[in-house]
Amino acid sequence: MAIGKDEVRHIAKLANLEFSEDELGRFTQQFNSIVEYVARLNALDTADIPPTSHVGGGSHALRDDTLVPSMPREEALANAPESERGHFKVPKVIG
């Protein structure tokens, strides 16, 4: 199943990315060859196979509900492109 430019444009929108027409053409081509390659998994019958979402040996433990110091606000804001009065500053959200 070939993926067209329009579909790639739609995926780009979902991913918050933008491409020029040139890039879109090249991307669509590469995208199709990768998706075609990936589709070889369809050769396998996996109807009765459970999915693996993680291979964790982790504890997944909840910690005790005790207060511990958190990062000071100035440090948390130190990398912000723009901040004001202890907040991250962004452009208007609702137009």
Partner: protein, 491 residues
């Protein structure tokens, strides 16, 4: 003191603790070496001259004042630029994190510091650890110390090259589909991906959370074991880190290969394998037999599905993890956007490089409505089949040996225009990330062009000991350290 670089961790540790050399002298010698070769190798994004010397002097002060010294006291170590380092820029090889200065150390970095290691700098990498050649760095191309017109592998290419060039005694990398083992193979050093959950990932910038793992590079297997000893173990800040106790890895090293059952998977010695790589690995397997190990042919029948499975799962997780780069809290922000929507789009479009965009797009696609079952769920099911292949194999054998990569290092530009052929460079390494297993790459020979060939040892979950044991035994038999990269015109 000259000749202080190129020493093992054990040698540095005994020099520093006995007072035969100060940590500052060791650090100075490595910094001089780095300044000498960096114009050619370009392994580092950030080299910490004065700060590194200050860390070394603190070790020397501890010694003078009789305080106990850690197991890595005075050992110069480099850290991949994907691990957070307090007060030191951490770019992930991406423009979108240009100028980002973390407010805290990753747990593995904090543990290195506590053990007395001297953090010398941050190493170059493929952007967000996506790539197999370090050519995807937004900043510079790192060169392979064995042949400067060849890639060092990736994505931890800078960490591998820095160790191979003698700029540091050891380094940290990360491995999502082979990003420690493949560059270790290309650069002729040892590099280990521990079991999923063995090392904390707190402070590691996430790429694919069900696959990512931090691990060490060293000149010798023993050096890898010494660094692993320090960074392994449970961390309350990472719930995926395992509470299993950490064994004494150095003890495992001297046990030799006698009695080990080594599985040799037929699927890893087929099409696409460069004959010189096959010859070197087969000859190492014969050495293992001479050391008393028994070889058994095994089958991992779903190997051919590993790359497509990996590219579904890794890209899906990446598209989700990388959604956080929005120009609000840190990193690049596009100028002049008057509203949030365009701010996100323009920030991300300007900030991410092509391969990262390609993977975010593929991940978004396989997770999108209507395709989720066909791709993502399918990938997760095949992942189960790949795990089962290993479970079955490990009923019969103790370890598995394969080539690390089907080819030795390739030339710059050879694969950049063909994403699929670049992805296939990881064909022998992605399987163990999917299965969550530990694996190490050690150098096992040189091609006619004098490029290193890597051999991979794979073990059962949390059985790093057996992996290190066989790797150390083979290292002793193969004597690869007699070869050095031709950076000094002396080899």
């Amino acid at each position: 003191m000259s000749g202080a670089f190129g020493r093992t961790i054990g040698e540095i540790h005994s020099l520093v603790t006995s007072g035969q050399a100060s940590a500052a002298e060791i650090c100075g010698a490595h910094l001089r070496r780095a300044r000498e070769v960096e114009p050619r190798v370009k392994a580092f994004r950030t080299l910490l001259d004065e700060d590194a010397l200050r860390q070394a002097e603190a070790v020397d002060r501890d010694r003078r004042e009789g305080r106990p010294l850690g197991p890595l006291a005075g050992v110069p170590i480099a850290v991949k630029d994907v691990l957070c380092t307090r007060g030191v820029p951490t770019t992930c090889g991406s423009r979108i994190l240009k100028g980002f200065v973390p407010a805290y150390d990753a747990t593995c970095v904090a543990r290195l510091r506590r053990a007395g290691a001297v953090i010398v700098g941050k190493t170059n990498m493929d952007e967000f650890a996506m790539g197999s050649s370090t050519e995807n760095s937004a900043y510079e191309k790192t060169c392979n110390p064995w042949a400067l017109d060849h890639v060092p592998g990736g994505s931890s290419g800078g960490s591998a090259a820095a160790v191979a060039a003698g700029e540091v005694a050891a380094s940290l990398g990360t491995d999502t589909g082979g990003s420690i083992r493949q560059p270790a193979a290309f650069c002729g050093v040892a590099g280990m991906k521990p079991t999923y959950g063995r090392v904390s990932r707190y402070g590691l910038v996430a790429f694919a959370s069900s696959l990512d793992q931090v691990g060490p590079f060293g000149v010798t297997v023993e050096d890898v074991a010494r660094v692993l000893q320090v960074i392994a173990g449970h961390d309350p800040n990472d719930s995926t880190s395992s509470p299993q106790p950490v064994p004494d890895y150095l003890k495992a090293l001297g046990k030799g290969a006698a009695g080990l059952r080594i599985g040799v998977p037929a699927e890893y010695f087929r099409e696409g394998l460069t004959p010189e790589v096959e010859t070197a690995v087969q000859s190492a397997l014969k050495s293992a037999e001479r050391l008393g190990a028994r070889l058994e042919e095994i089958s991992l029948p779903h190997t051919e599905y590993a790359i497509p499975t990996y590219y579904i799962i890794a890209t899906a997780e990446a598209s989700s993890n990388l959604a956080r780069y929005d120009g609000v809290r840190y990193g690049h922000r596009a100028r002049g956007a008057m509203q949030m929507g365009p701010l996100y789009v323009r920030t991300r479009t300007e900030g991410f490089g092509e391969e990262v965009k390609r993977r975010i797009m593929l991940g978004t696609y396989v997770l999108s409505s209507g395709y989720y079952d066909a791709y993502y769920l399918k990938g997760q099911k095949v992942r189960t089949l790949i795990r089962r292949d290993f479970d079955l194999a490990f009923e019969k054998v103790d370890v598995i040996v394969t080539p690390t990569s089907p080819t030795p290092a390739f030339r710059f530009g050879d694969k950049v225009d063909d994403p699929l052929s670049m992805y296939l460079s990881d064909i022998f390494t992605v399987t163990i990330n999917l299965a969550g297993l530990p694996g190490i790459s050690i150098p096992c020979g040189l091609t006619r062009e004098r490029l290193p060939v890597g051999l991979q040892v794979i073990g059962r979950p949390f059985d790093e000991e057996t992996v290190l044991r066989l790797a150390a035994a083979l290292e002793g038999a193969l004597k690869f350290r007699d070869h050095r990269p031709p950076l000094d015109g002396t080899s």
